[in-house]
Amino acid sequence: MFSEMIRKKAFGISLAIFVILLLAPSFLSRFYIYFLAVIFVTALLAMSLNLCVGHGMLFQFHHGVFYGVGAYSSGLLLAKTALPWWMAFSAGPLAAALAGLLIGIFCIRLNRLYFGMLQISLGSLIWAIAFRWYDLTGGDDGIHGIPIPDFIASTTSSYYFVLIVLGICVALMYLILKSPFGSTLQAIRDNPERCAAVGIHVRRHQLKAIVIATFFGGIAGVLFVVVEGSIFPDLLFWVLSLEIFIMCLLGGWFTFAGPMLGAAIIVSLRTFVGTYTEYWTLILGVILILLIFFLPEGIMG
C-alpha cells in the first residue's frame, strides 16, 4: 500500500514536470530552450543505454555508436537525398538497431568484460570509417546545415518535437521494463545461471534487449540531428559512450529515471563549467571517482 502511494506520487511529480516543460518555452530565452532540448536528447540516450546496463548488466561500453549511426543515417539521407523526412527519420533507429544486432551477435557470445571490450573495438571501426570517408560523411568536419523539415526547424518547434518523442519513448521503456520481458531481463542481470536453469535462453533474451536499446539510441541520434542540424564523428567516438555511462551511474543505474537525472546534471555541468575552464574532462573524471567511492548506486539509488 505504501508503495502504491509512492508510485502515485512519482507519477504526479512526473506529470507536473512534464507540464512545466511544456510551458517552458514561453518564459525561457532561446538559449535555454536549446539547452533543454539538448538535455532531452541526452536523457533519451542515457535511458536507452540503461536498458542494457542497469537493467540487464550488459557491459555496453560503446553505446554511442548506435547514437551516431542513427544520427548519420538520418542526417545523410536528409542532406544528400530527396527522400521524405519521415523516411530519413525512420532510417535512423532502424539502422541503429541493425548495427546493434550485428555487433550484438558478435559480442554476446562472450562474457561481460570481453563483451564490452569487443564492442569498443567494433564500434571504433565504424568511427574510423566515418572519420576517413570524407566523400560520404564529411570526415573529420562532419556535415553541417542539414535540411530539417520546416515544422520542426525553429528552436521552439524542435524543442516540442524532442520533448514529445522523449515522452513517448520514456513511456514505452517504462512499459517494457514492467513487462515479462523486462522482468526476465532484470532476473538475468541478477543471476543468468539461474535463469538458464528455469528455461530462459539467456543469450537470445540479452540480444533482444540490445536491439531494443540500440533502437532507442538511434531515435536519440535522429533527435540530435533535429536539434543541431549537423553530424560529426565525435558522436561515434567512445569517449562520448563513456560519458553516457557515467550519466547512468550518476543518476542511479538501478532506478528507472536515474539516467535522465544523470544526463541533466552532466549536460548542465558541461555547459556551465565549460565557460570557466577547458578542462571539463578532468572534472568529469573527478566526478566519476567521487561516484565510485561514495555513491556507487547513484543519486537516486
Binding site: 557491459f59 558478435f106 557470445r109 562472450l110 568484460l113 570481453y114 564490452g116 571490450m117 569487443l118 569498443i120 573495438s121 567494433l122 571504433s124 571501426l125 574510423a128 570509417i129 576517413r132 570517408w133 570524407y134 567516438f237 567512445w238 569517449v239 563513456l242 555511462f245 557515467i246 551511474l249 578542462y279 574532462t281 578532468l282 568529469l284 573524471g285 573527478v286 566519476l288 571517482i289 565510485i292 567511492f293 556507487p296
Partner: protein
Amino acid sequence: MEGGQEITIAALSSTFLVGLSRAMILFVVTAGLSFVLGVLRVPNVAHGSLYMIGAFAAYSISTFFGGGSIGFWLALVFAPLVVALVSLIAERSLFCHLYQREHLMLLLFTFALMLILGDLTKIVWGAEYRSVMAPAFLQGSISVFGSPFPRYNLFLLVIGPLVAIGLWLFSTKTKMGKIARAAAVDMEMVGAIGINVSWVFAFAFVLGCLLAGLGGALVSPTISVTIGMDHNIIIEAFLIVTIGGLGNMWGALVGSLIFGITQAFGVLLLPQFAIVFPYLAVVIVLTLKPTGMLKSVW
C-alpha cells in the same frame, strides 16, 4: 590502383618490415595491458594515457639534456620510471581501496584515471605537437631489399624481442614473476599462502604501466607527440589483447604482429582507409576464434 607506391617485391618487404617494427611498439604496450588484465582482471583504460605520458616525459627529459643522443637514452630509461611513479601514486592512493569491490568499479576507476590524466597532460605540456630526436646513429635510413628503411625501425626490431625475452625470463624465472602468474590463475590461493595480495596487484599494475611508458618513449621519435595519442593507442591495444587472448602476453605478441603488419599493408594498398585493414583482420580472427588466438588466462 589507389596505392601510394608501386607494388614491387621491394615495397612488399619494406612494408612487412615497417609493420613488424610497428608491431614491436604495439607489443611493448599491449604486453603491459595484458599483464594487468591477467593479474587484476581489469582492462586498464588509462593504459593509453600512461603511454602518452611516457612519450611526453621522453620529450621533456631529452630536451632537458640537450636533445641529443644522451638525452634520448636517458629519456628511454627515465620516462618509463616517471610513468611507473605516476601509476604507483594513483594505485596506492585510490585504486587499492577498490580491490574488494566488483570489477565494474575497478574498470570505471581506470576510465576516470584516463579522463584525469588526459587533461593533466594537457595542463602540464600544453596542446602543441612535440617531437623527440633519435640519436644520430639511429637517424636516417638504410637500404633494405632496395627500399629505404628507417634505422630507428631496426632498433625497434631489436628492442622488441629483447623486451619479450626479458618479460619471459621475469615471469618464469623470478619469484615475483611466478607469484604474478599464480595470482593470475587463482588470486585467493595466493592470498591463502600468505602473500600480500594487495602488493601483488600494485606490482602488476605498476609494471604494466611502466611498459606503457616504455612504449611511449620508444615511439616518441617516430611520431608527433600530442594530446589524443591516448585515445588512439588504447583502441588498438584493446583490439590486440582481444584477438590475442585476454591476459596472455604471447597473445599480445601475436595480436600486435597481426595488427601491425595488416596496418602497414593497408597503408600500402589503400592509404585513405589503411585503418580498416587491421580492423577487418580483427573481425576475421574473432569470427573464427571468439576468445582470441591464444588461450586466455581466464
